[in-house]
């Protein structure tokens, strides 16, 4: 499918999210879109997918001018889309979600569950994206939900596949697999629009890279363009792609986890005897393939999941099975893995979300009455410091771009006094410029004595931040090594080898 955008303009009120965008995707082409958070990439994709109607401009598909009234029409025309924020029904099973809208039926229009499940098994085997068809979406970690979202789009045999940041929560292996799929689809003549903030990926898989800044096309470049050049095009200034970190000066232990056992929603002991400690002034990076118990470990640390046995100690005080409030009072900062589920209230304003877990602290409230001036002032400050792109602090968080939503959480957590920080994929969905800033902030706080636990499946982040690296596999820590350890060794440990055997 050849798709051509001519002068697409999309406004939200007085704000112009897409400004006269021209773009062509040829059949068999993998076309990458790069751009800062809030540049208008997702908006443009939603316009193509018929979910938003542009104010101006036209979409031409194979020579024919098209107007989609809704996404159903786009799907029927052969367009598939993986959304940045998944469009899955939380209470439905994986199989039900994948076939939703194209349900295989038995007599009397009943859903043929078996056929649906078989279909999922077939597709997931074909593409190497394994997932249990019977699992319920809301019980799955985001990484697995992402696989489901991708499977759903793939199973529809689209001629044009739109992938909006599908790799933000995938593991390196999964990303490799996805890129292989993309290449083979392109070879078969399908067109692909691929959005990612990871420069390595666009260079590895893209045929053409188009950079968007503030709603406008800056230009299209070949994949041979260097990462530094791409970053500069995107942000409009030079970006340091790795933070320069001063050597850590670790102090006392702030967080000690001993023999921790935690069960998941199905009752399996997915954290199975974890022992780990984090000292003040150091960043401990917890690497591991998603689904090896990190999610549950972090939930236990945040007081959100019951601890079966073992202990958690903060600055010498036993905080095992504390409530979330008590953990916050102990000085826990928490950047949750699933921002929209646990980190934000989408239907509330940016300002309110920035004080979501400190609404009662001075100066935000006095004797039970909120001080909205202080809340507003704080919001202005954070929006400025963290470069949160929003038209106003009163704007609902739901209207922010994905990366800017993430910045709201990061800003909130890093701007209050903390004893230690537990951050799951803290830079998920952030552009290179913002990653630079957030990493700098985390390192600065660590320099001032904050103990940090970073949970990430992203090795780049693990190496960029970690002073020490712990690797988690099947509910256990397979080893704690220092940051000079090679990627290969860490990779082996993530696959289950102990640090000893991995070294050999």
């Amino acid at each position: 499918m050849r798709i051509e955008l001519r002068g697409i303009t999309k406004r939200f009120g007085s704000f112009t999210a897409n400004d006269r965008i021209d773009l062509v995707v040829e059949p068999g082409e993998i076309h990458c879109l790069l751009g800062e958070n809030g540049a208008g990439k997702s908006t443009l994709m939603n316009v193509i997918f018929g979910q938003l109607q542009p104010e101006e401009g036209e979409i031409v598909i194979d020579g024919e001018t098209i107007k989609f009234a809704n996404s159903g029409e786009a799907v029927r025309r052969g367009i598939g889309m993986v959304h940045q924020h998944f469009m899955l029904v939380p209470v439905f099973s994986v199989a039900e979600n994948v076939v939703l809208g194209f349900e295989p039926t038995k007599s009397f229009d009943r859903l043929d569950r078996k056929k649906a499940a078989d279909e999922i098994r077939r597709v997931s085997k074909e593409y190497g994206l394994e997932v249990n068809p019977d699992a319920v979406i809301e019980e799955l970690p985001v990484g697995l939900q992402q696989r489901v979202e991708i499977l759903k789009a793939l199973s529809q045999d689209a001629e044009l596949l739109i992938l909006d940041e599908p790799t933000a929560v995938l593991t390196p292996q999964e990303i490799e697999a996805l890129m292989a799929i993309m290449r083979s689809l392109a070879k078969a003549g399908k067109s692909i629009l691929f959005i990612t903030h990871k420069l390595k990926e666009v260079r590895a898989v893209g045929d053409v890279i188009t950079v968007i800044r503030q709603g406008r096309v800056v230009g299209s470049v070949p994949p041979t363009t260097s990462e530094a050049e791409l970053a500069t095009m995107m942000v409009g200034r030079d970006v340091k792609l790795t933070v320069t970190k001063e050597a850590a000066a670790p102090g006392d232990e702030v967080l000690e986890i001993r023999d921790l056992v935690v069960r998941d929603d199905r009752g399996l002991a997915v954290v199975n005897g974890v022992t780990l400690n984090v000292r003040a002034g150091e960043i401990m990076a917890l690497a591991g393939v998603q689904g090896n118990g990190q999610t549950e470990l972090v939930e236990a640390l945040a007081g959100m999941r019951r601890i079966e046995s073992g202990t958690i100690t903060v600055r010498g005080r036993d905080v095992t099975n504390n409530k979330p409030r008590e953990m916050l009072d102990e000085g826990l900062g928490h950047i949750p893995e699933d921002r929209q589920r646990n980190g934000l209230v989408l239907s509330m304003s940016v300002a309110d979300n920035l004080v979501l877990n400190t609404p009662r602290r001075a100066p935000f409230a006095r004797r039970g009455t909120r001080n909205l001036d202080a809340v507003e002032q704080n919001a202005r400050q954070q929006v400025k410091d963290f470069d949160i792109r929003t038209t106003s602090t009163r704007e609902l968080v739901s209207s922010l771009s994905g990366g800017n939503q993430q910045k709201v959480i990061v800003a909130r957590e890093l701007s209050r006094p903390l004893a230690f920080l537990v951050a799951s994929q803290p830079t998920r969905g952030l552009d290179v410029g913002s990653i630079e800033y957030v990493h700098r902030q985390i390192v600065n706080q660590r320099n001032e004595g904050l103990g940090v636990l970073i949970v990430s499946s992203e090795l780049d982040e693990v190496f960029a931040l970690g002073d020490r690296i712990a690797v988690m596999h099947e509910g256990r820590i397979t080893g704690v090594v220092d940051a000079t350890t090679s990627r290969e060794t860490i990779g082996l440990m993530m696959a289950g080898a102990s640090s000893q055997s991995a070294h050999d």
Binding site: R6, G7, R20, G50, Q51, L52, Q53, E55, E56, G57, E58, A69, N70, S71, A302, M304, K323, P324, R325, E326, M327, L328, D329, H334, P336, R341, N342, G343, L344, V345, L346, S347, M348, D352, L356, N357, P359, R360, A365, G368, T369, R370, L372
Partner: protein, 429 residues
């Protein structure tokens, strides 16, 4: 070149589909008031149809439409006369009667007659506002308090008891009576509150069932000696002492029933606004209502929120009950808030209509009260049953609850062919 052409075209032609749609979207999304007003128009249109199909003279006129040349015109006239008379009676019965108004202006007399309809509307609206706020606050927290009616009954019983059984100066008696009503409602509200918080029982079922329990409890109480009006075998309570009553605003002699209760309603509206928009606890409530997972992660104690919501919501519902008693009947009988008088049930629809916002609820309550009061006048004047008012109320709520439907109806009317195409658009966004 082509870009510019598109620009120019889009600007030059205000009737282009894109333009019109965005205007509409702005119109309706920015202003739920517009939506409510359109729903009201639809409600009256459907009400008119009901009048037509239930009035024999109108139907006869239409049956005879082929009998003579003048018949169709006659049929139309009969239709308009009947529908017009019904709605006129509704209006004059609930707002004011223009001729009566001019008479008062001209002569300076009979102001009581002129003001009676408004006074009645306000009298009915007062407890309804309070009860709807009770329901609305719970809704905003994501809790469905279907039990406001039972809680209001409990408030009424408690208030009537304190109001009738002890004797003291009004300055303490009135607050005490109101406080008793609040406590009565809180007691009733605490039951589903604790059950939900500590056993996970679903509040809809518990509150719904408690309404029945309390309705029977009412009769039981009214038949037991301390409460029952002495020398009576009916289920009727003692009358409140005048020191406990909420007096008519313009004095008993005016004949206007509207009481000091409207100040209580105003205070409740202000409290609700402050609570939801300004208080820390209200902030917790809204977080919980909008995203329970984020609420938990933010350290909000869900159990506490649930219990407190039910105490506040129940307390306000109880206040509605006691205001109802002490400003109108001054006693409680077996029919208190039973059946169509159940303001706690009406409150659910009013809260929905007002989108759980305090001011929205005020307008919704006034509308519902006016329809009820006016409907009674219509029944007396034209013989069309009061139920028509209920039908209009229900239709309005139905349309407000399904904005898409209203949009579609009004879009289809505005432009035929284009309208159909446009109608399918607004769904996604």
């Amino acid at each position: 070149m082509t870009e510019n052409m598109a620009d120019v075209l889009a600007q030059a032609d205000p009737g282009s589909p894109v333009e019109r749609r965005s205007l509409w979207t702005r119109f309706s999304s920015k202003s739920p008031v517009v939506l409510a007003l359109l729903a009201l128009v639809l409600g009256f249109l459907i009400g008119a149809l009901v009048i037509i199909f239930s009035t024999n003279t109108v139907l006869d006129a239409w049956r005879g439409i082929f009998s003579s040349w003048g018949a169709p015109g006659h049929a139309l006239k009969v239709t308009f006369d009947n529908v017009g008379a019904a709605y006129r009676a509704m209006f004059t019965g609930s707002v004011f009667d223009p001729s009566q108004f001019w008479h008062s202006i001209a002569t300076g007399k009979q102001w009581d007659n002129t003001l009676t309809p408004l006074s009645e509307t306000l009298t009915y609206a007062t407890p309804l506002i309070i009860a709807s706020i009770a329901v609305g606050i719970a809704f905003q927290t994501g809790i469905f308090n279907i039990g406001a009616n039972g809680q209001a009954i409990m408030g009424g019983i408690a208030g009537a008891s304190i109001g009738s059984m002890i004797n003291m100066p009004a300055i303490v008696h009135i607050p005490l009576t109101l406080a008793a009503g609040i406590v009565g409602g809180m007691v009733a509200g605490s039951i589903p509150g604790f059950l939900k918080a500590y056993t996970g029982a679903h509040e809809v079922i518990v509150t719904l069932m408690l309404n029945y329990v309390i309705a029977f409890f009412l009769v039981f109480v009214l038949l037991s000696t301390p409460f029952q009006l002495p020398g009576q075998s009916n289920d009727i309570s003692r009358t409140m002492h005048s020191s406990a009553q909420l007096a008519p605003l313009f004095g008993a002699a005016s004949g206007l029933r509207v009481s000091y209760g409207i100040f209580i309603a105003a205070a409740v509206v202000y409290f609700a606004w402050w609570f939801l928009e300004r208080s820390s606890l209200g902030f917790d409530f809204r977080i919980t209502g909008n995203n329970p997972n984020a609420a938990r992660a933010s350290g909000i104690n869900a159990r506490r929120v649930i219990v407190v919501v039910f105490l506040i919501s129940g307390g306000l519902a109880g206040l509605a009950g006691v205001v109802q008693v002490s400003s109108t009947t001054h006693y409680v009988d077996g029919n208190f808030l039973i059946g169509s008088a159940g303001i706690g049930f009406t409150a659910i629809t009013v809260a929905l209509l007002g989108r759980n916002r305090p001011m929205g609820i005020v307008w919704g309550s006034l509308l519902f009260a006016a329809l009820g009061v006016g409907g009674r006048n219509m029944q007396a004047a034209t013989g069309i049953p009061l139920d028509l008012a209920t039908i209009i109320q229900s239709v309005v709520v139905l349309f407000v609850a399904t904005p898409v439907l209203v949009k579609e109806i009004f879009r289809l009317r505005s432009s035929s062919a284009q309208g159909i195409q446009l109608a399918t658009k607004g769904w996604g966004s």
